[in-house]
Amino acid sequence: MSVLKWLSVVIALLSAVVVTGLLLLTTGRAGTPIAVGYPTIALIAAGLGLLPGIVLWLVAASYEAELRRTITCTEALEEDGPPQLFRSCFGFGPLLEAHQRTVETLGSRLKRMADQRLDLEVELRVAEGRRQHLEAILNSISDAVIVTDAFNEAVLANEAAAHLLQFDLDPALRQPIEHIVADPTLVKLIKDTRESSYAGSRGRRRHIEHRMGCNGRVTVYDVTLTCVASSPTGANTNRADGSGPFLDVGAGVITILRDITREKEIAEMKSEFVSSVSHELRTPLASIKAYMEMLIDGEAADEQTQAEFYHIIQAETTRLSRLIDNILNLSRIESGVVRVQRKQIALAPVVKEAVDIMQPQGRAKQITLEERPCLAAVQVLADRDMILQVLLNLMGNAVKYTRAGGHITVVLSADENERLARIAVIDTGVGVPQPDLPHLFEKFYRVVSHRKLAEGTGLGLNLVKHVVESVHGGSVSVTSEIGKGSAFTFALPMAENG
Protein backbone atom coordinates (compact mmCIF):
# COMPACT_ATOMS: atom_id res chain seq x y z
CA MET A 1 0.00 0.00 0.00
CA SER A 2 1.27 3.40 -0.95
CA VAL A 3 1.93 6.33 1.38
CA LEU A 4 -0.97 8.18 -0.26
CA LYS A 5 -3.38 5.40 0.71
CA TRP A 6 -2.10 5.34 4.30
CA LEU A 7 -2.45 9.11 4.32
CA SER A 8 -6.09 8.85 3.13
CA VAL A 9 -6.86 6.32 5.92
CA VAL A 10 -5.25 8.60 8.51
CA ILE A 11 -7.11 11.64 7.14
CA ALA A 12 -10.41 9.67 7.13
CA LEU A 13 -9.97 8.63 10.75
CA LEU A 14 -8.78 12.01 11.91
CA SER A 15 -11.55 13.89 10.09
CA ALA A 16 -14.14 11.41 11.47
CA VAL A 17 -12.87 12.00 15.02
CA VAL A 18 -12.67 15.77 14.54
CA VAL A 19 -16.15 16.07 12.95
CA THR A 20 -17.74 13.80 15.57
CA GLY A 21 -16.06 15.64 18.39
CA LEU A 22 -17.04 19.06 17.09
CA LEU A 23 -20.67 17.97 16.58
CA LEU A 24 -20.93 16.50 20.09
CA LEU A 25 -19.33 19.54 21.67
CA THR A 26 -21.62 21.87 19.77
CA THR A 27 -24.77 19.98 20.71
CA GLY A 28 -23.70 19.45 24.32
CA ARG A 29 -22.89 23.19 24.91
CA ALA A 30 -26.17 24.47 23.39
CA GLY A 31 -28.26 22.13 25.50
CA THR A 32 -30.67 21.97 22.64
CA PRO A 33 -32.87 18.92 22.75
CA ILE A 34 -32.47 16.83 19.72
CA ALA A 35 -34.72 14.27 18.13
CA VAL A 36 -32.04 11.74 17.62
CA GLY A 37 -29.72 10.22 20.17
CA TYR A 38 -25.91 10.76 20.55
CA PRO A 39 -24.84 7.51 18.99
CA THR A 40 -26.69 8.40 15.79
CA ILE A 41 -25.16 11.83 15.73
CA ALA A 42 -21.75 10.32 16.29
CA LEU A 43 -22.27 7.82 13.50
CA ILE A 44 -23.37 10.48 11.03
CA ALA A 45 -20.46 12.65 12.05
CA ALA A 46 -18.02 9.77 11.67
CA GLY A 47 -19.51 8.96 8.27
CA LEU A 48 -19.16 12.60 7.16
CA GLY A 49 -15.64 12.65 8.56
CA LEU A 50 -14.63 9.48 6.70
CA LEU A 51 -15.85 10.80 3.34
CA PRO A 52 -12.77 12.93 2.36
CA GLY A 53 -10.58 9.98 3.40
CA ILE A 54 -12.50 7.63 1.13
CA VAL A 55 -12.38 10.14 -1.75
CA LEU A 56 -8.64 10.56 -1.18
CA TRP A 57 -8.25 6.73 -1.10
CA LEU A 58 -10.00 6.42 -4.45
CA VAL A 59 -7.90 9.19 -5.97
CA ALA A 60 -4.73 7.59 -4.60
CA ALA A 61 -5.71 4.17 -5.98
CA SER A 62 -6.42 5.68 -9.38
CA TYR A 63 -3.08 7.63 -9.32
CA GLU A 64 -1.25 4.52 -8.34
CA ALA A 65 -2.83 2.51 -11.14
CA GLU A 66 -1.91 5.16 -13.72
CA LEU A 67 1.61 5.36 -12.36
CA ARG A 68 1.97 1.61 -12.61
CA ARG A 69 0.65 1.69 -16.18
CA THR A 70 3.06 4.48 -17.02
CA ILE A 71 5.93 2.46 -15.60
CA THR A 72 4.83 -0.58 -17.60
CA CYS A 73 4.66 1.54 -20.79
CA THR A 74 8.05 3.09 -20.06
CA GLU A 75 9.48 -0.34 -19.49
CA ALA A 76 7.94 -1.45 -22.78
CA LEU A 77 9.63 1.52 -24.46
CA GLU A 78 12.96 0.57 -22.98
CA GLU A 79 12.47 -2.94 -24.23
CA ASP A 80 11.86 -1.58 -27.72
CA GLY A 81 8.17 -2.65 -27.52
CA PRO A 82 5.35 -0.74 -29.24
CA PRO A 83 4.32 2.44 -27.38
CA GLN A 84 1.03 1.95 -25.45
CA LEU A 85 -0.18 5.48 -24.97
CA PHE A 86 -3.38 6.13 -22.85
CA ARG A 87 -5.39 9.09 -21.63
CA SER A 88 -4.10 9.99 -18.21
CA CYS A 89 -6.11 11.98 -15.63
CA PHE A 90 -2.92 12.88 -13.81
CA GLY A 91 -0.91 14.15 -16.82
CA PHE A 92 1.15 11.01 -17.28
CA GLY A 93 0.37 11.01 -21.05
CA PRO A 94 2.76 13.91 -21.90
CA LEU A 95 5.29 12.42 -19.47
CA LEU A 96 5.05 9.12 -21.28
CA GLU A 97 5.39 10.91 -24.65
CA ALA A 98 8.44 12.74 -23.33
CA HIS A 99 9.82 9.41 -22.17
CA GLN A 100 9.09 7.94 -25.56
CA ARG A 101 10.93 10.78 -27.33
CA THR A 102 13.87 10.45 -24.97
CA VAL A 103 13.99 6.72 -25.48
CA GLU A 104 13.82 7.19 -29.26
CA THR A 105 16.59 9.81 -29.20
CA LEU A 106 18.75 7.70 -26.96
CA GLY A 107 18.01 4.67 -29.12
CA SER A 108 19.13 6.38 -32.31
CA ARG A 109 22.20 7.71 -30.54
CA LEU A 110 23.03 4.27 -29.26
CA LYS A 111 22.60 2.85 -32.76
CA ARG A 112 24.90 5.52 -34.17
CA MET A 113 27.42 4.73 -31.50
CA ALA A 114 27.14 1.00 -32.20
CA ASP A 115 27.68 1.71 -35.92
CA GLN A 116 30.64 3.90 -35.09
CA ARG A 117 32.01 1.21 -32.84
CA LEU A 118 31.66 -1.31 -35.62
CA ASP A 119 33.45 1.05 -38.03
CA LEU A 120 36.19 1.58 -35.48
CA GLU A 121 36.54 -2.15 -34.95
CA VAL A 122 36.91 -2.65 -38.70
CA GLU A 123 39.41 0.22 -38.90
CA LEU A 124 41.29 -1.24 -35.96
CA ARG A 125 41.44 -4.61 -37.65
CA VAL A 126 42.63 -3.03 -40.91
CA ALA A 127 45.22 -0.97 -39.01
CA GLU A 128 46.37 -4.04 -37.14
CA GLY A 129 46.65 -5.93 -40.43
CA ARG A 130 48.66 -3.06 -41.93
CA ARG A 131 50.88 -2.92 -38.87
CA GLN A 132 51.55 -6.65 -39.09
CA HIS A 133 52.18 -6.29 -42.81
CA LEU A 134 54.66 -3.47 -42.24
CA GLU A 135 56.27 -5.40 -39.43
CA ALA A 136 56.62 -8.42 -41.73
CA ILE A 137 58.14 -6.17 -44.43
CA LEU A 138 60.49 -4.57 -41.89
CA ASN A 139 61.55 -7.97 -40.58
CA SER A 140 62.07 -9.35 -44.07
CA ILE A 141 64.71 -6.66 -44.68
CA SER A 142 68.12 -8.15 -44.07
CA ASP A 143 69.58 -4.74 -43.25
CA ALA A 144 69.27 -3.60 -39.65
CA VAL A 145 66.62 -0.87 -39.24
CA ILE A 146 66.22 1.19 -36.05
CA VAL A 147 63.81 4.09 -35.67
CA THR A 148 64.45 6.54 -32.87
CA ASP A 149 62.21 9.37 -31.69
CA ALA A 150 62.81 12.98 -30.66
CA PHE A 151 64.09 11.79 -27.29
CA ASN A 152 66.62 9.44 -28.91
CA GLU A 153 64.63 6.43 -27.77
CA ALA A 154 64.25 3.38 -29.97
CA VAL A 155 60.60 3.10 -31.00
CA LEU A 156 60.88 0.55 -33.78
CA ALA A 157 63.48 -1.99 -34.82
CA ASN A 158 63.55 -5.06 -36.99
CA GLU A 159 64.86 -8.56 -36.29
CA ALA A 160 68.07 -7.91 -38.22
CA ALA A 161 68.84 -4.97 -35.93
CA ALA A 162 68.05 -7.04 -32.85
CA HIS A 163 70.30 -9.81 -34.10
CA LEU A 164 73.12 -7.47 -35.09
CA LEU A 165 73.14 -5.32 -31.97
CA GLN A 166 72.10 -8.22 -29.75
CA PHE A 167 69.06 -6.84 -27.96
CA ASP A 168 65.58 -8.28 -27.38
CA LEU A 169 63.16 -6.77 -29.82
CA ASP A 170 60.16 -5.89 -27.65
CA PRO A 171 61.75 -4.80 -24.40
CA ALA A 172 64.12 -2.65 -26.42
CA LEU A 173 61.31 -0.48 -27.65
CA ARG A 174 61.12 2.86 -25.90
CA GLN A 175 64.60 2.56 -24.54
CA PRO A 176 67.35 5.13 -24.81
CA ILE A 177 69.41 4.34 -27.90
CA GLU A 178 72.63 4.08 -25.90
CA HIS A 179 71.08 1.23 -23.90
CA ILE A 180 70.69 -0.97 -26.96
CA VAL A 181 73.54 0.24 -29.16
CA ALA A 182 76.91 -0.47 -27.60
CA ASP A 183 78.92 1.30 -30.31
CA PRO A 184 79.42 4.91 -29.10
CA THR A 185 80.20 6.23 -32.59
CA LEU A 186 76.90 4.95 -33.94
CA VAL A 187 75.00 6.43 -30.99
CA LYS A 188 76.70 9.78 -31.62
CA LEU A 189 75.83 9.60 -35.32
CA ILE A 190 72.15 9.04 -34.52
CA LYS A 191 72.06 11.86 -31.95
CA ASP A 192 73.92 14.24 -34.25
CA THR A 193 71.48 13.50 -37.06
CA ARG A 194 68.59 14.17 -34.69
CA GLU A 195 70.10 17.48 -33.61
CA SER A 196 70.96 18.49 -37.15
CA SER A 197 67.23 18.32 -37.93
CA TYR A 198 66.85 21.64 -36.14
CA ALA A 199 69.42 23.11 -38.45
CA GLY A 200 67.11 22.45 -41.39
CA SER A 201 68.60 19.22 -42.64
CA ARG A 202 65.40 17.27 -42.03
CA GLY A 203 64.56 14.66 -44.63
CA ARG A 204 68.14 14.66 -45.87
CA ARG A 205 69.98 11.37 -46.01
CA ARG A 206 73.49 10.80 -44.78
CA HIS A 207 75.59 7.84 -45.88
CA ILE A 208 78.48 6.92 -43.67
CA GLU A 209 80.86 4.00 -43.87
CA HIS A 210 81.35 2.67 -40.39
CA ARG A 211 83.47 -0.17 -39.05
CA MET A 212 82.18 -2.08 -36.03
CA GLY A 213 83.71 -4.92 -34.10
CA CYS A 214 81.14 -7.68 -33.84
CA ASN A 215 81.61 -11.25 -32.58
CA GLY A 216 85.36 -10.85 -32.68
CA ARG A 217 85.58 -9.63 -36.26
CA VAL A 218 85.40 -6.20 -37.83
CA THR A 219 82.42 -5.63 -40.07
CA VAL A 220 82.02 -2.70 -42.42
CA TYR A 221 78.60 -1.08 -42.57
CA ASP A 222 77.06 1.43 -44.89
CA VAL A 223 75.01 3.47 -42.41
CA THR A 224 72.10 5.47 -43.81
CA LEU A 225 70.67 8.06 -41.42
CA THR A 226 67.47 9.82 -42.39
CA CYS A 227 65.85 12.48 -40.25
CA VAL A 228 62.06 12.35 -40.47
CA ALA A 229 59.51 14.91 -39.29
CA SER A 230 56.03 14.36 -37.93
CA SER A 231 54.64 17.15 -40.14
CA PRO A 232 54.24 15.97 -43.72
CA THR A 233 56.12 18.99 -45.08
CA GLY A 234 59.03 18.34 -42.82
CA ALA A 235 59.42 22.04 -42.25
CA ASN A 236 60.77 23.42 -39.02
CA THR A 237 58.14 24.53 -36.57
CA ASN A 238 59.14 27.75 -34.91
CA ARG A 239 57.74 29.18 -31.75
CA ALA A 240 55.37 32.09 -32.18
CA ASP A 241 57.64 34.35 -30.18
CA GLY A 242 60.59 33.41 -32.34
CA SER A 243 62.52 31.98 -29.39
CA GLY A 244 63.43 28.85 -31.29
CA PRO A 245 62.03 25.64 -32.70
CA PHE A 246 59.61 23.38 -30.85
CA LEU A 247 60.74 19.90 -30.00
CA ASP A 248 58.93 18.03 -32.73
CA VAL A 249 57.93 14.96 -30.73
CA GLY A 250 56.90 13.00 -33.80
CA ALA A 251 60.25 13.53 -35.48
CA GLY A 252 63.03 11.00 -35.32
CA VAL A 253 65.86 9.27 -37.09
CA ILE A 254 65.72 6.15 -39.25
CA THR A 255 69.02 4.32 -39.11
CA ILE A 256 69.74 1.56 -41.61
CA LEU A 257 72.89 -0.54 -41.34
CA ARG A 258 73.90 -2.52 -44.40
CA ASP A 259 76.75 -5.02 -44.08
CA ILE A 260 79.15 -4.21 -46.92
CA THR A 261 82.07 -6.27 -45.61
CA ARG A 262 81.72 -8.83 -48.40
CA GLU A 263 81.40 -6.10 -51.07
CA LYS A 264 84.55 -4.49 -49.71
CA GLU A 265 86.36 -7.81 -49.73
CA ILE A 266 85.25 -8.48 -53.31
CA ALA A 267 86.37 -5.00 -54.37
CA GLU A 268 89.76 -5.64 -52.78
CA MET A 269 89.90 -9.11 -54.34
CA LYS A 270 89.08 -7.64 -57.75
CA SER A 271 91.73 -4.98 -57.37
CA GLU A 272 94.22 -7.65 -56.32
CA PHE A 273 92.99 -9.78 -59.24
CA VAL A 274 93.57 -6.99 -61.79
CA SER A 275 97.05 -6.49 -60.39
CA SER A 276 97.72 -10.25 -60.47
CA VAL A 277 96.33 -10.67 -63.98
CA SER A 278 98.52 -7.79 -65.06
CA HIS A 279 101.54 -9.58 -63.58
CA GLU A 280 100.54 -12.94 -65.03
CA LEU A 281 100.05 -11.48 -68.51
CA ARG A 282 103.13 -9.30 -68.45
CA THR A 283 105.52 -12.05 -67.34
CA PRO A 284 105.23 -14.31 -70.42
CA LEU A 285 104.88 -11.19 -72.56
CA ALA A 286 108.18 -9.93 -71.15
CA SER A 287 109.91 -13.16 -72.21
CA ILE A 288 108.36 -13.05 -75.67
CA LYS A 289 109.38 -9.42 -76.21
CA ALA A 290 112.91 -9.88 -74.83
CA TYR A 291 113.70 -13.02 -76.86
CA MET A 292 112.22 -11.48 -80.03
CA GLU A 293 114.41 -8.44 -79.57
CA MET A 294 117.44 -10.65 -79.00
CA LEU A 295 116.69 -12.50 -82.25
CA ILE A 296 116.21 -9.22 -84.15
CA ASP A 297 119.41 -7.81 -82.73
CA GLY A 298 121.29 -10.96 -83.75
CA GLU A 299 122.26 -11.76 -80.17
CA ALA A 300 121.58 -15.46 -80.65
CA ALA A 301 125.02 -16.56 -81.78
CA ASP A 302 124.21 -19.88 -83.40
CA GLU A 303 121.30 -21.81 -84.81
CA GLN A 304 120.92 -23.87 -81.65
CA THR A 305 120.50 -20.72 -79.54
CA GLN A 306 118.06 -19.33 -82.10
CA ALA A 307 116.01 -22.54 -81.93
CA GLU A 308 116.08 -22.34 -78.13
CA PHE A 309 114.76 -18.76 -78.31
CA TYR A 310 111.97 -19.77 -80.70
CA HIS A 311 110.97 -22.56 -78.35
CA ILE A 312 110.88 -20.19 -75.39
CA ILE A 313 108.76 -17.71 -77.36
CA GLN A 314 106.40 -20.55 -78.32
CA ALA A 315 106.15 -21.87 -74.74
CA GLU A 316 105.53 -18.41 -73.33
CA THR A 317 102.88 -17.73 -75.98
CA THR A 318 101.13 -20.97 -74.96
CA ARG A 319 101.34 -19.93 -71.30
CA LEU A 320 99.82 -16.57 -72.16
CA SER A 321 96.99 -18.09 -74.15
CA ARG A 322 96.33 -20.62 -71.34
CA LEU A 323 95.88 -17.79 -68.87
CA ILE A 324 93.53 -15.98 -71.22
CA ASP A 325 91.65 -19.29 -71.71
CA ASN A 326 91.34 -19.65 -67.95
CA ILE A 327 89.83 -16.20 -67.59
CA LEU A 328 87.51 -16.61 -70.56
CA ASN A 329 86.44 -20.17 -69.70
CA LEU A 330 85.57 -19.19 -66.19
CA SER A 331 83.49 -16.31 -67.42
CA ARG A 332 81.83 -18.56 -70.03
CA ILE A 333 81.07 -21.34 -67.54
CA GLU A 334 79.69 -18.81 -65.07
CA SER A 335 77.44 -17.24 -67.67
CA GLY A 336 76.43 -20.69 -68.94
CA VAL A 337 77.45 -20.11 -72.55
CA VAL A 338 80.30 -22.61 -72.66
CA ARG A 339 80.02 -25.37 -75.25
CA VAL A 340 80.84 -28.65 -73.61
CA GLN A 341 82.00 -31.43 -75.93
CA ARG A 342 81.46 -34.55 -73.87
CA LYS A 343 82.95 -37.70 -75.30
CA GLN A 344 83.96 -41.02 -73.85
CA ILE A 345 87.67 -40.58 -73.16
CA ALA A 346 90.42 -42.55 -71.47
CA LEU A 347 91.94 -40.55 -68.61
CA ALA A 348 95.50 -42.01 -68.68
CA PRO A 349 96.55 -40.26 -71.93
CA VAL A 350 95.17 -36.93 -70.62
CA VAL A 351 97.23 -37.29 -67.44
CA LYS A 352 100.33 -38.13 -69.51
CA GLU A 353 99.80 -35.09 -71.75
CA ALA A 354 99.41 -32.79 -68.75
CA VAL A 355 102.61 -34.13 -67.16
CA ASP A 356 104.48 -33.68 -70.45
CA ILE A 357 103.26 -30.07 -70.77
CA MET A 358 104.30 -29.27 -67.20
CA GLN A 359 107.71 -31.01 -67.36
CA PRO A 360 109.66 -27.91 -68.59
CA GLN A 361 108.25 -25.74 -65.79
CA GLY A 362 109.07 -28.48 -63.27
CA ARG A 363 112.61 -28.86 -64.57
CA ALA A 364 113.16 -25.09 -64.41
CA LYS A 365 112.40 -25.28 -60.67
CA GLN A 366 114.20 -28.62 -60.18
CA ILE A 367 110.95 -30.35 -59.29
CA THR A 368 110.34 -33.97 -60.26
CA LEU A 369 107.03 -34.60 -61.99
CA GLU A 370 105.75 -38.12 -62.35
CA GLU A 371 102.55 -39.90 -63.18
CA ARG A 372 101.26 -43.07 -61.62
CA PRO A 373 98.70 -44.38 -64.04
CA CYS A 374 95.97 -46.79 -63.15
CA LEU A 375 96.29 -50.31 -64.48
CA ALA A 376 92.66 -50.48 -65.53
CA ALA A 377 91.61 -48.40 -68.51
CA VAL A 378 89.59 -45.69 -66.78
CA GLN A 379 87.11 -44.03 -69.09
CA VAL A 380 84.87 -41.08 -68.39
CA LEU A 381 82.29 -39.10 -70.33
CA ALA A 382 83.97 -35.70 -70.38
CA ASP A 383 85.23 -32.73 -72.34
CA ARG A 384 88.89 -33.66 -72.89
CA ASP A 385 90.21 -30.08 -73.19
CA MET A 386 88.47 -29.05 -70.01
CA ILE A 387 89.85 -32.00 -68.01
CA LEU A 388 93.33 -31.25 -69.40
CA GLN A 389 92.96 -27.66 -68.23
CA VAL A 390 91.88 -28.86 -64.75
CA LEU A 391 95.02 -31.00 -64.55
CA LEU A 392 97.26 -28.18 -65.80
CA ASN A 393 95.77 -25.77 -63.23
CA LEU A 394 96.30 -28.23 -60.37
CA MET A 395 99.83 -29.11 -61.50
CA GLY A 396 100.65 -25.45 -62.17
CA ASN A 397 99.73 -24.67 -58.56
CA ALA A 398 101.78 -27.63 -57.34
CA VAL A 399 104.84 -26.35 -59.24
CA LYS A 400 104.28 -22.82 -57.91
CA TYR A 401 104.08 -23.83 -54.28
CA THR A 402 106.75 -26.53 -54.19
CA ARG A 403 110.36 -25.60 -53.53
CA ALA A 404 113.29 -26.82 -55.59
CA GLY A 405 114.01 -30.49 -55.09
CA GLY A 406 110.36 -31.33 -54.44
CA HIS A 407 108.16 -33.97 -56.07
CA ILE A 408 104.80 -33.84 -57.76
CA THR A 409 102.92 -37.07 -58.40
CA VAL A 410 99.73 -37.44 -60.39
CA VAL A 411 97.83 -40.56 -59.37
CA LEU A 412 94.98 -41.97 -61.43
CA SER A 413 92.76 -44.53 -59.74
CA ALA A 414 89.42 -46.20 -60.26
CA ASP A 415 86.84 -46.83 -57.55
CA GLU A 416 84.81 -49.68 -58.99
CA ASN A 417 82.32 -49.73 -56.11
CA GLU A 418 81.33 -46.10 -56.47
CA ARG A 419 82.01 -46.08 -60.22
CA LEU A 420 84.30 -43.08 -59.82
CA ALA A 421 87.54 -42.19 -61.54
CA ARG A 422 89.91 -40.28 -59.25
CA ILE A 423 92.88 -38.12 -60.13
CA ALA A 424 95.07 -36.81 -57.32
CA VAL A 425 97.80 -34.23 -57.73
CA ILE A 426 100.11 -34.72 -54.75
CA ASP A 427 102.98 -32.37 -54.01
CA THR A 428 105.67 -32.00 -51.37
CA GLY A 429 105.11 -28.25 -51.27
CA VAL A 430 104.56 -25.62 -48.59
CA GLY A 431 101.01 -26.79 -47.73
CA VAL A 432 97.87 -24.77 -47.10
CA PRO A 433 96.97 -23.42 -43.63
CA GLN A 434 93.90 -25.22 -42.22
CA PRO A 435 91.67 -22.08 -42.03
CA ASP A 436 92.22 -21.40 -45.75
CA LEU A 437 91.20 -24.89 -46.93
CA PRO A 438 87.41 -24.33 -47.07
CA HIS A 439 87.91 -21.16 -49.15
CA LEU A 440 90.51 -22.44 -51.62
CA PHE A 441 88.04 -22.95 -54.46
CA GLU A 442 86.39 -19.55 -54.11
CA LYS A 443 86.79 -17.05 -56.91
CA PHE A 444 89.71 -14.65 -56.43
CA TYR A 445 90.59 -16.32 -53.13
CA ARG A 446 94.29 -16.39 -52.43
CA VAL A 447 96.02 -17.75 -49.36
CA VAL A 448 97.54 -14.71 -47.67
CA SER A 449 100.72 -16.52 -46.62
CA HIS A 450 101.15 -17.74 -50.23
CA ARG A 451 100.95 -14.35 -51.87
CA LYS A 452 104.65 -13.85 -51.44
CA LEU A 453 105.47 -17.29 -52.78
CA ALA A 454 103.96 -16.87 -56.19
CA GLU A 455 101.71 -14.72 -58.27
CA GLY A 456 98.24 -15.93 -59.05
CA THR A 457 94.84 -14.73 -60.09
CA GLY A 458 92.73 -16.74 -57.66
CA LEU A 459 90.91 -18.14 -60.69
CA GLY A 460 92.63 -21.47 -61.32
CA LEU A 461 91.03 -23.51 -58.54
CA ASN A 462 87.67 -21.81 -59.01
CA LEU A 463 87.77 -22.93 -62.64
CA VAL A 464 88.72 -26.47 -61.53
CA LYS A 465 85.67 -26.58 -59.25
CA HIS A 466 83.35 -25.26 -61.96
CA VAL A 467 84.60 -27.70 -64.59
CA VAL A 468 84.55 -30.76 -62.31
CA GLU A 469 81.38 -30.08 -60.34
CA SER A 470 79.10 -27.89 -62.50
CA VAL A 471 80.04 -29.25 -65.92
CA HIS A 472 80.90 -32.90 -65.17
CA GLY A 473 78.93 -33.65 -62.00
CA GLY A 474 82.08 -34.69 -60.14
CA SER A 475 83.64 -33.49 -56.93
CA VAL A 476 86.85 -31.80 -55.80
CA SER A 477 88.61 -32.13 -52.47
CA VAL A 478 91.85 -31.11 -50.84
CA THR A 479 93.97 -32.27 -47.94
CA SER A 480 97.06 -30.45 -46.80
CA GLU A 481 99.71 -30.26 -44.13
CA ILE A 482 101.94 -27.26 -43.60
CA GLY A 483 105.50 -27.98 -44.64
CA LYS A 484 104.63 -31.47 -45.89
CA GLY A 485 102.52 -30.85 -48.97
CA SER A 486 99.03 -30.92 -50.41
CA ALA A 487 96.85 -33.37 -52.31
CA PHE A 488 94.18 -32.04 -54.65
CA THR A 489 91.81 -34.76 -55.80
CA PHE A 490 88.95 -34.71 -58.24
CA ALA A 491 86.54 -37.50 -58.95
CA LEU A 492 84.49 -38.01 -62.12
CA PRO A 493 81.70 -40.53 -62.73
CA MET A 494 83.04 -43.40 -64.82
CA ALA A 495 81.56 -44.04 -68.26
CA GLU A 496 79.03 -46.89 -68.28
CA ASN A 497 81.16 -49.35 -70.22
CA GLY A 498 84.44 -47.84 -69.02
Binding site: S278, H279, T283, A286, A290, M294, E299, K365, K452, E455
Partner: protein, 135 residues
Protein backbone atom coordinates in the same frame (compact mmCIF):
# COMPACT_ATOMS: atom_id res chain seq x y z
CA UNK B 1 139.15 -2.80 -59.01
CA UNK B 2 138.32 -5.27 -61.76
CA UNK B 3 137.85 -3.69 -65.21
CA UNK B 4 134.69 -5.62 -66.06
CA UNK B 5 131.73 -4.74 -63.86
CA UNK B 6 129.87 -7.59 -62.19
CA UNK B 7 126.07 -7.58 -62.41
CA UNK B 8 123.80 -9.61 -60.16
CA UNK B 9 120.50 -10.53 -61.84
CA UNK B 10 117.68 -11.80 -59.57
CA UNK B 11 114.42 -13.18 -61.01
CA UNK B 12 112.29 -16.25 -60.29
CA UNK B 13 111.46 -16.53 -64.00
CA UNK B 14 114.21 -18.68 -65.54
CA UNK B 15 113.63 -17.30 -69.05
CA UNK B 16 113.96 -13.68 -67.92
CA UNK B 17 117.09 -14.52 -65.94
CA UNK B 18 118.54 -16.21 -69.00
CA UNK B 19 117.77 -13.43 -71.49
CA UNK B 20 119.01 -10.60 -69.26
CA UNK B 21 122.20 -12.49 -68.41
CA UNK B 22 122.85 -13.26 -72.09
CA UNK B 23 122.32 -9.65 -73.13
CA UNK B 24 124.76 -8.41 -70.48
CA UNK B 25 127.30 -11.16 -71.14
CA UNK B 26 127.19 -10.39 -74.86
CA UNK B 27 127.96 -6.77 -73.96
CA UNK B 28 131.00 -7.95 -71.98
CA UNK B 29 129.69 -7.84 -68.43
CA UNK B 30 130.24 -10.53 -65.85
CA UNK B 31 126.95 -11.86 -64.55
CA UNK B 32 125.86 -13.71 -61.40
CA UNK B 33 122.26 -14.95 -61.16
CA UNK B 34 119.86 -15.78 -58.33
CA UNK B 35 116.33 -17.16 -58.53
CA UNK B 36 114.83 -15.63 -55.41
CA UNK B 37 115.37 -12.83 -52.90
CA UNK B 38 117.16 -14.89 -50.26
CA UNK B 39 119.54 -16.35 -52.82
CA UNK B 40 120.01 -12.83 -54.25
CA UNK B 41 120.99 -11.42 -50.86
CA UNK B 42 123.46 -14.23 -50.22
CA UNK B 43 125.07 -13.81 -53.63
CA UNK B 44 125.22 -10.02 -53.30
CA UNK B 45 127.09 -10.34 -50.02
CA UNK B 46 129.33 -13.02 -51.44
CA UNK B 47 130.20 -11.40 -54.79
CA UNK B 48 129.64 -7.71 -54.02
CA UNK B 49 128.42 -6.80 -57.51
CA UNK B 50 128.62 -3.38 -59.13
CA UNK B 51 124.91 -3.41 -59.88
CA UNK B 52 121.84 -5.48 -58.98
CA UNK B 53 118.97 -6.04 -61.39
CA UNK B 54 116.00 -7.57 -59.58
CA UNK B 55 112.41 -8.54 -60.26
CA UNK B 56 109.82 -7.16 -57.85
CA UNK B 57 107.54 -10.17 -57.29
CA UNK B 58 109.52 -13.18 -56.13
CA UNK B 59 109.00 -16.04 -53.70
CA UNK B 60 110.00 -15.60 -50.04
CA UNK B 61 111.34 -12.06 -50.43
CA UNK B 62 110.23 -9.30 -52.80
CA UNK B 63 112.74 -7.30 -54.85
CA UNK B 64 111.96 -4.29 -52.69
CA UNK B 65 112.76 -6.19 -49.50
CA UNK B 66 115.97 -7.46 -51.09
CA UNK B 67 117.05 -3.92 -52.03
CA UNK B 68 116.16 -2.63 -48.55
CA UNK B 69 118.31 -5.37 -47.00
CA UNK B 70 121.13 -4.64 -49.45
CA UNK B 71 121.20 -1.00 -48.34
CA UNK B 72 121.14 -2.04 -44.69
CA UNK B 73 124.03 -4.47 -45.18
CA UNK B 74 127.46 -2.98 -44.58
CA UNK B 75 129.08 -4.66 -47.61
CA UNK B 76 126.35 -3.86 -50.12
CA UNK B 77 124.92 -0.57 -48.91
CA UNK B 78 126.14 1.46 -51.91
CA UNK B 79 125.31 -1.02 -54.68
CA UNK B 80 122.81 0.61 -57.09
CA UNK B 81 119.80 -1.42 -58.18
CA UNK B 82 117.44 -1.62 -61.14
CA UNK B 83 113.96 -2.95 -60.43
CA UNK B 84 111.87 -4.84 -62.96
CA UNK B 85 108.17 -5.09 -62.23
CA UNK B 86 105.22 -6.72 -63.92
CA UNK B 87 102.69 -5.26 -61.51
CA UNK B 88 100.71 -2.34 -62.76
CA UNK B 89 101.47 0.02 -59.90
CA UNK B 90 104.22 2.44 -59.08
CA UNK B 91 106.22 1.94 -55.93
CA UNK B 92 105.87 4.42 -53.08
CA UNK B 93 108.74 6.89 -53.00
CA UNK B 94 109.28 6.38 -49.26
CA UNK B 95 109.83 2.64 -49.93
CA UNK B 96 112.32 3.50 -52.67
CA UNK B 97 114.13 5.94 -50.34
CA UNK B 98 115.16 3.04 -48.14
CA UNK B 99 116.89 1.39 -51.11
CA UNK B 100 119.46 2.21 -53.79
CA UNK B 101 116.96 1.64 -56.58
CA UNK B 102 117.73 4.20 -59.27
CA UNK B 103 115.55 2.86 -62.05
CA UNK B 104 112.24 1.00 -62.20
CA UNK B 105 111.47 -0.70 -65.50
CA UNK B 106 108.13 -2.30 -66.16
CA UNK B 107 107.69 -5.66 -67.85
CA UNK B 108 107.61 -6.30 -70.76
CA UNK B 109 110.98 -4.57 -71.03
CA UNK B 110 113.52 -4.16 -73.76
CA UNK B 111 116.92 -5.88 -73.20
CA UNK B 112 118.47 -2.94 -75.08
CA UNK B 113 117.05 -0.55 -72.51
CA UNK B 114 118.37 -2.66 -69.66
CA UNK B 115 121.81 -2.67 -71.24
CA UNK B 116 121.68 1.12 -71.70
CA UNK B 117 120.80 1.60 -68.01
CA UNK B 118 123.49 -0.84 -66.91
CA UNK B 119 126.08 0.98 -68.99
CA UNK B 120 124.96 4.27 -67.53
CA UNK B 121 125.04 3.00 -63.94
CA UNK B 122 128.35 1.20 -64.22
CA UNK B 123 130.04 4.20 -65.86
CA UNK B 124 133.54 4.52 -64.27
CA UNK B 125 132.84 8.18 -63.42
CA UNK B 126 129.88 7.18 -61.33
CA UNK B 127 131.83 4.33 -59.80
CA UNK B 128 134.08 6.85 -58.13
CA UNK B 129 131.27 8.10 -55.97
CA UNK B 130 130.74 4.63 -54.56
CA UNK B 131 132.35 3.29 -51.49
CA UNK B 132 135.42 1.14 -51.71
CA UNK B 133 135.32 -2.60 -51.40
CA UNK B 134 133.63 -3.73 -54.61
CA UNK B 135 134.94 -6.68 -56.65
Amino acid sequence: MNETPLILVVDDEAHILHVVSLKLQNAGYRVVTASDGEDGLAKAVEHQPDLVITDYQMPFMTGLELCTKLKEHEQTRTVPAVMLTARGFSLASESLDRTNITTVLSKPFSPREILARVQELTDPHRQETRAKGTV
